[in-house]
C-alpha cells in the first residue's frame, strides 16, 4: 500500500506556537477581574480537626473569599469510590489533605491569608505501611468504609494453578517491590473557573478527560444547588499529562466554589512543591510471583499476589490491577494463571494513573521472575522468551483475542542488535545484557461504559478542512496524526487540515486521552468521518466532472478523472460551486467510533482491547562494582506498532517512554517519611537530565493491524513498560545480583554485591 501522507515525518501541528512562545498554558490564562486561589494543607498525616478559625484571613485586605468544608454540601465526595471530600472538615488522612482555601486579588495576598488561618488538631497515630494497615487491630481510617481494605475484588483465576505447579519441572518464587514515582509534568497543575450570569461554568483546564470532567463538574454544580446548568471545558495547551490528569482533583472543585462565591474568575496554579506532594503518583506495590515451566521451557503457570498502597483516598490508582492482569495473564503463552490484588488505605498520598497504568509494576515482576526461571531451568533467557512468545490468532486465558502480534520479531531484532549470543552470560568487564517484553492495549481499552470518540468534519469554500475531534492533545501529537489520517483519506495537503480538539462546546464526546488509545480510537473516528465526507464529495465531483464517482480521484486538493486526467477541478472551486447556488449545500460529516472491545466481566475476562501492542527492550549495562553505579551502554527498544502514521512523533513517544522508564528503574523515588514527602523538588527527586541519556536505538515493527486506522496500534505507554526488568536482568547478567526493589540505586547494588561475596 502506498501513502501520500501516512508514514511521513511531519512536524507537530502546533509546533510554530510552541517554538515561539505563543502556546498558552494554564498559568498564561488571564481573565478580567481574575482572582487567585491558594489551598491550606494539613500539617499532619492523621488527625482530627477540632477547630478552624478563618476570621483573620477574611479580614486581610484583598482577600475575597475563604472557604472550608462547611461551604461544600456535607456529603459531597469526589473520586471513583466517592471517598474524598474536596475540603476536609473533621478528619485529615494525609499531609496533602485540603483544609481551607482562599482567593484574593493577588497570589501573594492569598498566600499571606493562608498563614492567618489557624487550625486546631488532635493528632492521631498514622499508618504508613499497608501491611500494618491490613492488621485486624489497626485503626480504621475511613470509618464509613469499616475496613482499611478496599472493597475491590481483584481476582483472576484461569485454569488450575495448583495442579500446574505440581506438574512443573521448574518453579521459581520471588517478591518484588516498587516505589512511588510522580509524573513531573513540566507545567504544574491548575485551572481557571468562572461562572457567567446564568451560573453556567467555564473551566480552563489541563484535563485529560474533558467529557468525563464535564460530567463530574455538572454533578458538583447540582450538589451546590445549581441544577440543569452547563459546563464548558476549554483545554489550554497541556504541559504534560502521563496520566496525571485522568481524574478530577479537589483543587478544581475548590476553584469552582471560590468562583461561585466571588462571581469572578478564579485561578489556581500549583507551585512545584504542591505539584510534588499534592498530585497523585504511581502506586507502590508488593508483588509475590511464582512461575513454572516444563522440561522444554514451556510456561505452565503464573501466580501473582499483590498488595497496593492506596493512600488516603481512592483515585484510578486503585483500578490499575485491571491492567496488571493483562501482562500477568497474557504476556507470553501461559495456560494457568492466578492473580489477586488488595488495595489498602494508609495515611500516605493517594495514587493515580501514570503511563502504563500498573503495567510497569507487573511487568517488572513477571520479566525479572522469568529470568530467574531461565536460570533455574538452564534455558537461555532469550530462548525461553521465544519458546513462549505470543502469536497472532491466539486467545489468551483472560479472553484477549490477539490479532496482529509482532512479539517474536521484536525479541529477535533486539537480541540481534544487542549481539546477545556473543555478550550474554560472559560477565566480562562487569558488563551484561538483559531483555524484557511487554503487552499493552493497542486498540483502545473498554474500562468505561464507552470507549468511543466523536468527530465532526466540515469543508469550507477554500478547500480547507476543519476537524472537530473529541481527542485531547497532551503533547503526543493527536492533532497531527488526526490531520494526517484525514488528509490521506481526502487527498488534500496536510496543511489544509485544521484540527480543533480543546473545547467541549464544539468538540464531540471522548472518554479521554489514556490507554494509548488516541491514534487508534480518535484516528478511526476521524477516518470514518473522512470516508463519509469523501463519499459526498465524490458524488458531487462526479457530477461536476461528468464521470462516474469511482472514476474520481483527489490529490493535493485537485479532483480529476482517473481515466481522463485532463478533466479536473480544484476542490475549492467545486466546493464553491455547490455552495453558491440556489438550494446550495456545504459539506459536513460526523462519526462516532466505538471500538469492538469488551468490558471485563465479573471474572475479569473479556477482550479488553480491539488490538494489542507488543514490544521488547534490550539493554547492555556496565556495573561499577566499587560504587554500585549502573551505566547503560546500549539500549534497544523494538515495538510492534501496527503502522507508524508519523514516525517522528512515534519515535518521540518511545524515546520519552524509555527515558521515564530508565528513571523508574534507576533513580526516581518519592521518599516519604511518616507521611511527609522529603524530596519534593527537582534536585532531590532524580528525573533524568540530558547528561543521563544513553544511546537508544528504536526499532519499529509494522504488523498492519486490520482494525486500526491505516493499520496503526497504540504506542503512548509501551515505551516505559519493560524498561526496569530489562535493566535488572542485564545487571544480573553483568554481576550476578538480582535487585528486586525499585529503583536500583548504587547503594542497593553494592549491598547485594557485598552479600553475594560473603555467601
Amino acid at each position: 500500500m502506498s501513502f501520500n501522507i501516512i508514514g511521513k515525518k511531519i512536524p507537530k501541528k502546533d509546533a510554530p506556537f510552541k517554538v515561539t512562545g505563543q502556546a498558552l498554558y494554564i498559568d498564561d490564562v488571564e481573565l478580567p477581574g481574575m482572582l487567585y486561589g491558594k489551598i491550606l494543607y494539613s500539617k499532619y498525616p492523621h488527625a482530627r480537626i477540632l477547630h478552624i478559625d478563618t476570621s483573620k484571613a477574611e479580614k486581610l485586605p484583598g482577600v475575597k473569599a475563604v472557604i472550608t468544608a462547611k461551604d461544600f454540601p456535607p456529603h459531597f465526595r469526589i473520586g471513583f469510590m466517592k471517598d474524598n471530600p474536596p475540603l476536609k472538615g473533621t478528619k485529615v488522612l494525609s499531609t496533602r489533605d485540603e483544609i481551607a482555601a482562599v482567593c484574593a486579588i493577588s497570589p501573594e495576598i492569598a498566600e499571606e491569608a493562608l498563614d492567618l488561618i489557624s487550625v486546631e488538631y488532635e493528632v492521631l497515630q498514622g499508618i504508613f505501611d499497608p501491611l500494618v494497615a491490613m492488621r485486624e487491630d489497626a485503626p480504621i481510617l475511613h470509618e464509613e468504609v469499616g475496613s482499611n481494605i478496599l472493597k475491590l475484588p481483584w481476582r483472576l483465576v484461569c485454569g488450575d494453578v495448583e495442579k500446574a505447579k505440581k506438574e512443573s519441572a521448574y518453579v521459581v518464587e520471588d517478591t518484588f517491590t516498587t516505589q512511588w514515582v510522580t509524573h513531573c509534568c513540566l507545567a504544574t497543575s491548575g485551572c481557571v473557573a468562572y461562572f457567567d450570569v446564568n451560573n453556567n461554568l467555564t473551566m480552563y483546564s489541563n484535563t485529560q478527560i474533558p467529557s468525563l470532567a464535564q460530567n463530574e463538574f455538572l454533578e458538583a454544580l447540582t450538589a451546590l444547588g445549581l441544577r440543569n446548568r452547563r459546563v464548558r471545558i476549554i483545554q489550554v495547551t497541556i504541559g504534560g499529562g502521563f496520566g496525571s490528569k485522568l481524574d478530577t482533583y479537589p483543587y478544581e472543585y475548590i476553584a469552582i466554589l471560590l468562583a461561585l462565591k466571588t462571581r469572578k474568575p478564579v485561578k489556581i496554579v500549583f507551585s512545584r512543591d504542591e505539584e510534588f506532594f499534592a498530585t497523585s503518583p504511581r502506586q507502590c506495590t508488593i508483588t509475590k510471583i511464582s512461575q513454572g515451566c516444563d522440561r522444554d521451557g514451556r510456561l505452565t503457570f503464573r501466580e501473582v499476589e499483590m498488595i497496593l498502597d492506596n493512600g488516603a483516598y481512592t483515585s484510578w490508582g486503585a483500578t490499575t490491577p485491571s491492567v496488571m492482569m493483562m501482562p500477568i495473564s497474557s504476556l507470553y503463552r501461559v495456560p494457568n494463571v492466578k492473580y489477586t490484588a488488595t488495595c489498602v488505605y494508609t495515611n500516605n498520598t493517594y495514587c493515580q494513573a501514570m503511563r502504563g497504568y500498573g503495567n510497569p509494576q507487573a511487568t517488572f515482576a513477571i520479566e525479572s521472575s522469568l529470568d530467574h526461571l531461565a536460570e533455574e531451568s538452564g534455558i537461555d533467557p532469550y530462548d525461553l522468551r521465544i519458546i513462549n512468545a505470543n502469536e497472532p490468532g491466539e486467545i489468551t486465558p483472560q479472553g484477549f483475542r490477539v490479532t496482529t502480534c509482532g512479539l517474536k520479531e521484536c525479541i529477535e531484532e533486539v537480541a540481534k542488535r544487542l549481539n546477545w549470543k556473543e555478550k550474554r552470560g560472559r560477565g566480562l568487564k562487569k558488563r551484561g545484557v538483559g531483555i524484557a517484553s511487554l503487552i499493552h492495549v493497542g486498540g483502545g481499552a473498554r474500562v468505561y461504559k464507552s470507549d468511543g470518540c466523536g468527530t465532526i468534519i466540515k469543508m469550507d469554500d477554500f478547500g480547507k478542512v476543519d476537524v472537530f475531534t473529541g481527542a485531547s492533545d497532551i503533547g503526543q501529537g493527536a492533532d497531527t496524526v488526526i490531520a494526517q489520517i484525514v488528509a490521506e483519506e481526502l487527498g488534500v495537503p496536510v496543511e489544509d487540515v485544521n484540527v480543533i480538539h480543546n473545547d467541549t462546546d464544539i468538540c464531540p464526546w471522548d472518554v479521554g486521552v489514556h490507554a494509548s488509545r488516541t491514534t487508534f480510537v480518535a484516528g478511526n473516528s476521524a477516518l470514518f468521518a473522512a470516508k463519509k465526507i469523501k463519499k459526498k464529495l465524490l458524488e458531487i465531483l462526479s457530477k461536476l466532472l461528468e464521470v462516474p464517482p469511482e472514476d474520481v480521484a483527489i490529490k493535493n486538493g485537485i479532483a480529476f478523472s482517473k481515466s481522463d486526467p485532463q478533466k479536473s477541478i480544484p476542490l475549492a472551486r467545486a466546493l464553491r460551486r455547490i455552495h453558491f447556488t440556489t438550494g446550495g449545500s456545504m459539506l459536513m460529516a460526523e462519526h462516532f467510533y466505538d471500538p469492538q472491545n469488551e468490558n471485563l466481566n465479573k471474572e475479569f475476562r473479556g477482550n479488553l482491547s480491539a488490538a494489542y501492542a507488543y514490544g521488547t527492550h534490550g539493554v547492555e549495562v556496565e556495573v561499577d562494582t566499587e560504587t554500585g553505579k549502573v551505566k547503560i551502554l546500549k539500549y534497544v527498544a523494538a515495538h510492534d506498532v501496527g503502522r507508524a502514521i508519523n514516525p517522528l512523533l512515534l519515535e518521540g513517544q518511545i524515546y520519552g517512554g524509555v527515558l521515564q522508564g530508565i528513571g523508574y528503574a534507576l533513580s526516581e523515588k518519592m521518599i516519604y517519611d511518616n507521611g511527609y514527602l522529603k524530596n519534593g523538588n527537582f534536585l532531590d527527586y532524580k528525573i533524568l537530565t540530558v547528561r543521563d541519556v544513553p544511546p537508544v536505538e528504536i526499532v519499529i515493527i509494522e504488523t498492519n493491524e486490520e482494525a486500526g486506522p491505516f493499520g496503526a496500534k497504540g504506542i503512548g505507554e509501551p515505551g516505559l513498560v519493560p524498561t526496569a526488568p530489562a535493566i535488572a536482568n542485564a545487571i544480573y547478567d553483568a554481576v550476578g545480583v538480582r535487585i528486586r526493589d525499585l529503583p536500583i540505586t548504587p547503594e542497593k547494588v553494592l549491598k547485594a554485591l557485598k552479600e553475594k561475596n560473603k555467601g
Binding site: 515525518k9 512536524p11 507537530k12 502546533d14 509546533a15 510554530p16 506556537f17 510552541k18 517554538v19 515561539t20 512562545g21 505563543q22 502556546a23 498558552l24 498554558y25 498559568d27 498564561d28 509524573h183 513531573c184 509534568c185 513540566l186 507545567a187 504544574t188 495547551t237 497541556i238 504541559g239 504534560g240 499529562g241 502521563f242 507551585s271 512545584r272 497532551i474 503533547g475 503526543q476 501529537g477 517522528l648 512523533l649 519515535e651 518521540g652 524515546y655 520519552g656 517512554g657 524509555v658 527515558l659 521515564q660 523538588n681 527537582f682 534536585l683 528525573i687 533524568l688 537530565t689 540530558v690 547528561r691 541519556v693 537508544v696
Partner: protein
C-alpha cells in the same frame, strides 16, 4: 517597599517600569510586561523553563532580580523570530520534533541559542551540546531529538534569514 525604576531592553524594545526591587526577572517579563512565552516550572532554578538571554548569556530568570538587568538587553523566546521568520534553531526544533508538550521549549531554545552564539562557526560535539542544555529539564522527549536539532544547526544545516 519603595518602588524603583528599571530600564532595560526586552526583545529589542525599551522598557521603563516601576517595580518592587525584590521582583524577579521572570515576573517582570511575564506579569508586568506580558510576554508569557517564558515559563515558570519550579521557581528554584532547577528546571530551566524560565531561561532567557541576558546579553548573550543564558540566565534562569527565576533566579535573578529584575533590577540586575538594568540597562541590559534581554531576549526571550518571543524575540527569536525575525520579521515573521523562525530562527534556525526554532526551525530545527520543528523538524526534529524536539518537543512534545512544549513547556520546556522556550527555555530550551534560549539555552540552545546562547550555546550556538557562543560557539558560532564551530561544530559542537554531543558532549558540548549536553553541557549547554544540562540545566533544562524535559520530561517528554527523552532529549535525543533536542540534541539532534542543536547539532543540525551547529553543523550549519539551517541558515539565518
Amino acid at each position: 517597599m519603595e518602588k524603583k525604576l528599571l530600564r532595560f531592553k526586552l526583545n529589542g524594545l525599551e522598557y521603563e517600569i516601576f517595580i518592587n526591587p525584590k521582583t524577579l526577572l521572570v515576573d517582570v517579563i511575564r506579569d508586568h510586561i506580558g510576554f508569557t512565552g517564558t515559563k515558570k516550572g519550579c521557581e528554584s532554578g532547577s528546571c530551566g523553563a524560565c531561561t532567557v538571554m541576558v546579553e548573550d548569556m543564558a540566565v534562569k530568570s527565576c533566579s535573578v532580580l529584575a533590577m540586575q538587568v538594568e540597562g541590559m538587553n534581554v531576549t526571550t523566546v518571543e524575540g527569536l523570530e525575525k520579521n515573521g521568520k523562525l530562527s534556525p534553531i526554532q526551525e530545527a526544533f520543528l523538524d526534529y520534533g524536539a518537543f512534545q508538550c512544549g513547556f520546556c521549549t522556550p527555555g530550551m531554545l534560549m539555552s540552545a541559542t546562547a550555546l550556538l552564539k557562543e560557539n558560532e562557526g564551530k561544530v559542537l560535539t554531543e558532549e558540548e551540546i549536553r553541557e549547554g542544555i544540562e540545566g533544562n529539564i524535559c520530561r517528554c522527549t527523552g532529549y535525543n531529538s533536542i540534541i539532534r536539532a542543536i547539532e543540525a544547526v551547529s553543523k550549519g544545516e539551517y541558515k539565518e534569514g
